[in-house]
């Protein structure tokens, strides 16, 4: 991982583990659902109706939940040559401005996301997805949200919830980053090229070395 992210201890490690597992599980589910649909079509001559829509929503969950993790681990790509050429004092100011820009982005996106999502939760709670069946437990909410009418398909406010959730988490992470830049604990907002290289090498070789350590 990038040298600049703080080593996780205790609770930090638990949160890391949850986020990393979520990323892996969502991607795994997307792949299996799409694969299962191909198998269903050719082997069982049928079609999993909800497969495509579910995969598309999982895709949104993967990325929108994952961005805040990547901010925490300092993984996002950017141009570092100019910032690195600055003297340290100036660099700190420039990075602080950059951090504030990121914070501005995430706050604006957060506001927009809640504005976009709340109607789906409130007056438009009847608005359903096209193909995904609604789970039974959800019907318990129907008297309060859907004027007592059962949902025949999963209501949209559920898959769309990742938008406000993800952007709120992103704001939280950028708030942390801004503080760390202020305290002088972090020098760059983006993955430096050295980090990218070691990252690429890790992705290539790590599966082997890790099993070696265990074995």
């Amino acid at each position: 991982m990038s040298a600049q992210s703080e080593p996780a201890t205790g609770w930090g490690r638990v949160i890391d583990e949850i986020e990393e597992t979520l990323i892996a599980v969502i991607l795994g589910l997307m792949t299996l659902v799409t694969f299962a649909n191909v198998i269903a079509r050719y082997v069982f001559n049928s079609n999993i109706l909800w497969a495509l829509e579910t995969t598309v929503f999982l895709f949104a969950w993967l990325v929108l939940l994952g961005v805040s993790y990547c901010v925490k681990k300092n993984q996002h790509l950017g141009v570092d040559v100019f910032v690195l050429a600055l003297p340290p004092a100036t660099r700190k100011i420039v990075t602080l401005i950059a951090a504030l820009a990121c914070l501005a982005f995430s706050v604006l996106m957060m506001i927009g996301s809640w504005q976009y999502w709340l109607p789906f939760f409130g007056e438009r709670a009847w608005y359903e997805t096209d193909d995904i069946p609604a789970p039974e437990f959800l019907q318990l909410l129907a008297p309060y949200m859907n004027e007592g009418e059962r949902w025949s398909k999963l209501p949209r406010f559920i898959p769309y919830f990742v938008l406000p959730l993800g952007m709120t988490l992103l704001t939280f992470r950028f708030l942390q980053v801004t503080l760390r830049v202020l305290q002088g604990k972090q020098e760059l907002l983006i993955a430096s090229h050295e980090a990218e290289v070691s990252e690429a090498m890790d992705a290539h070789g790590e599966t082997n070395t890790e099993t070696d350590k265990r074995g």
Partner: protein, 458 residues
């Protein structure tokens, strides 16, 4: 005028060290505040639609995952052995084999840096052992690695197809011949250099040995048949092909090559037979190696797609403000012909490629130049290949060429010396760019022959 403000904002933010995705998104939001009445909720919706409305982009996580499973050390080693047994007896043989191995690996992976790491970390050391200079080895691999995005499957092509609504299948087919031509040009240059500098060649491998290494590499290389055959045979959509490829790569890595997962033996015993450990059929799915591959692929997907989603917001702003149309009219009014237009596109992408991640740049530039290209009668598929080749060159030219940094890491050289080492080979890629730009036939012949003429909607 407005468009200058917008791009000024983007470049300014990037130079401050803002992540590319945020730079694109924030510029778009600020631009909307200044010049239009769009709401923040609308921007949020565009962000969500990047995923929910672009089924094509869904192929990216699956291709990344397939490539992650294929990037375990064993696949690269088998591909390299096969390449060496095939071509290493020519003068400059090991270097030619390195290029060949990069071409083969490019057919398994959609990314250039991944190709350089997988092939370079083995081949560069091997070349030095038989007497090549470090510079020669690094220069060759750094350039050949860029074929990763030209030879299908290619993430950059998926992005182009999604950005301008052309068929991914056509783009993939269109990349085949240019990929082969670029590889051959590099090989011929090595052959000539080998004759002049008297570079070493390896003994010719016996047919038996060749057949053995071909069979060994075949399991991995079958992936390209699944992808291309599946798409053109009408069996899968490109997205499904990518998902099938990912599952296939998982099986090959876990149960055939056994470089990862429960059947990977410890150093002495070698891989374990699945008959001795049948529970592996279940445990492989939840093995830590599998989780690690899924996580690494997921992380790369998140970074790429967040850039693409924000680039799509910017694209949305551009189309709302009718900026592509304004540029098209201005360009056509200035009497721009196809040849000058293509030079402008080349320059724009070469400069842009110095600062931007290829996928993001394509999402932004493609909709700007696409309408002009259609007016001028340039084939959309041809335009796509030109863009991809430009991105390749962007990856091997300073200051921000990603392949340069990756090669420097793999070869243990400074970035500046890799830049110098890569220079003569970059000249070949430039010659190739000119060839691809002005001979559309190279790109369009294969897709038109196999899939029929293209219907272009203006």
């Amino acid at each position: 005028m407005e468009v200058l403000v917008l791009f000024g904002l983007v470049i300014g933010l990037l130079l401050l060290g803002v992540p590319i995705a945020i730079g694109l998104g924030l510029s778009s939001i600020l631009f909307l505040f200044m010049y239009s009445h769009a709401s923040l909720a609308g921007v949020a919706q565009t962000m969500f639609d990047a995923f929910a409305g672009h089924y094509t982009l869904l192929a990216i996580p699956f291709f990344v995952l397939a490539s992650t499973f294929m990037s375990t050390g064993g696949v690269a080693r088998r591909v390299i052995n096969f390449a060496i047994d095939s071509v290493a007896h020519f003068p400059g043989g090991l270097a030619i084999a390195g290029v060949f191995a990069c071409m083969l690996f490019a057919a398994l992976s959609g990314s250039s840096p991944a190709t350089v790491v997988a092939i370079g970390s083995i081949v560069i050391a091997g070349m030095r052992q038989v007497g090549y200079t470090k510079e020669f080895a690094a220069g060759v691999i750094c350039n050949a690695g860029t074929l990763g995005i030209l030879i299908p499957p290619s993430i950059v092509m998926v992005v182009y197809a999604a950005a301008v609504d052309v068929s991914v299948g056509r783009m993939f087919l269109a990349g085949v011949i240019p990929g082969l031509v670029a590889g051959l040009m590099l090989m011929i240059a090595i052959y000539i250099a080998a004759k002049i500098y008297n570079l070493p060649s390896q003994p010719r491998a016996s047919w038996r040995k060749w057949a053995g290494s071909a069979a060994d590499a075949g399991w991995g290389l079958f992936l390209i048949i699944i992808i291309l055959g599946g798409i053109y045979g009408g069996i899968f959509t490109p997205t499904e092909a990518a998902a099938v490829a990912a599952v296939y790569a998982f099986f090959i890595a876990n149960f055939v090559y056994r470089d990862m997962g429960p059947l990977k033996g410890d150093g002495e015993t070698g891989p374990i037979s699945v008959l001795k450990k049948p529970q592996a059929l279940i445990t492989a799915w939840v093995h830590p190696d599998t989780k690690h591959a899924l996580f690494e692929a997921g992380k790369l997907t998140i970074m790429l797609l967040f850039i693409i989603a924000n680039a799509l917001i910017l694209k949305h702003v551009l189309t709302e403000e009718r900026i592509p149309q304004a540029i098209t009219e201005a360009m056509l009014a200035a009497g721009l012909g196809p040849i000058t237009f293509l030079i402008v596109v080349n320059l724009l992408l070469l400069i842009g490629g110095q600062f931007m991640e290829p996928s993001g740049l394509i999402v932004i530039v493609a909709p700007l130049v696409f309408p002009i290209a259609i007016e001028l009668g340039i084939d959309p598929i041809h335009l796509g290949i030109i863009m991809v080749v430009n991105m390749e060159i962007g990856m091997i030219t300073p200051p921000v060429g990603l392949n340069l940094f990756v090669t420097a890491g793999v070869a243990g050289m400074s970035v500046m010396s890799v830049v110098r080492a890569a220079m003569p080979w970059v000249a070949i890629m430039f010659a190739f760019l000119v060839l691809v730009t002005y001979v559309p036939f190279i790109s369009t012949w294969l897709p038109t022959t196999l899939m029929g003429p293209e219907i272009i909607t203006k």
